[in-house]
């Protein structure tokens, strides 16, 4: 089912408020094989001048996943999660964020377009991430929806 671009752009995402947990950051570091002690040991982080464990570059994506149902917007657009691919991901950074910080994430759809005669639909989702009302990072995801009903 094709995505309705007007409906996608008008989607209202509830803001997500997340307090960054030290244990989650440590687990994330362990799973990706991070060996730099700054990302796993709060004492090492402080010795390097950080107030606590830093949020690593891609964990801003994970903060948005803390939403109760991060893919409900796809269901709202009639998209089957199994038909979805992550096409692109971009981050812009304005300030470091640390364990213990509380941030607010506000996602929105900023663009919708199709390729290959509608066989591929693209949703561009931009998320502003703020701490104390100051923008600390922006995350932009390009979500690709494969439409099996359109012959390529």
């Amino acid at each position: 089912m094709p995505v309705d671009p007007d409906k996608a752009r008008a989607l209202a995402f509830p803001p997500v408020t997340v307090t960054v947990e030290r244990g989650r950051l440590r687990m994330f570091a362990q799973v990706i094989g991070e060996t730099d002690p700054v990302y796993v040991d709060p004492a090492a982080a402080r010795a390097a001048g950080h107030p606590d464990l830093p949020v690593p570059p891609t964990f801003f994506f994970s903060l948005e996943m803390e939403s109760p149902d991060p893919w409900s917007y796809l269901a709202d657009l009639g998209v089957d999660l199994r038909r979805v691919l992550h096409g692109e991901q971009e981050f812009s950074y304005h300030a470091m964020v640390y364990a213990g910080d509380t941030v607010e994430l506000r996602p929105r759809i900023i663009d919708v377009y199709t390729r290959k005669g509608g066989a591929l639909e693209f949703l561009v989702k931009r998320t502003d991430i703020r701490r104390d009302d100051r923008l600390v990072a922006e995350a932009t995801a390009v979500i690709v929806v494969r439409d099996p009903e359109v012959a390529s």
Binding site: G33, P54, F59, L85, H86, Q89
Partner: protein, 133 residues
């Protein structure tokens, strides 16, 4: 950590070679990253979508590339970091992360990034802008 004064066009980052991605890695990454999409961890769901097997999260490869960057310059110097996911990463794949400085101007270095698998497949291409000031 690299001295930013030493950066010039053509500088290669030390490659980061990863061990094979196991199903355990995918299960743990789902939990750690918060990305619980079952297509990466549940064979039944993958098959119901017409796939032979689960495949790795794109964000796992982007996290590996992030390690390449933060192992090379302090994280606060990274201004932007973006990637395109150009091929899926199968289970058992062995990714290698590479980067090369493609320009240095106006106090910023642009680094071209890639993740390739042992069979030569490029799974991810990208770019990061590093603040040198």
């Amino acid at each position: 950590m690299t001295m930013v004064d030493d950066l010039r066009e053509g500088t290669e980052l030390p490659p980061l070679r990863l061990p094979p991605i196991t199903r355990t890695t995918l299960a743990l990454f789902a939990g750690a990253s918060g990305d619980h999409n079952p297509i990466h961890i549940d064979l039944d769901v993958a098959r119901s979508a017409g796939l032979d097997d689960v495949f790795a999260h794109g964000m796992l490869s982007m996290a590996y590339l992030g390690r390449l960057l933060t192992g090379w310059v302090p994280q606060h110097r990274i201004r932007t970091y973006r990637v395109r996911f150009v091929a899926v990463t199968p289970v058992h794949a062995e990714p290698t992360c590479t980067g090369r400085v493609v320009s240095v101007r106006d106090g910023r270095a642009t680094v071209a990034l890639a993740v390739t698998l042992a069979d030569g497949t490029t799974t991810l291409t990208g770019e990061a802008v590093i603040d040198l000031s």
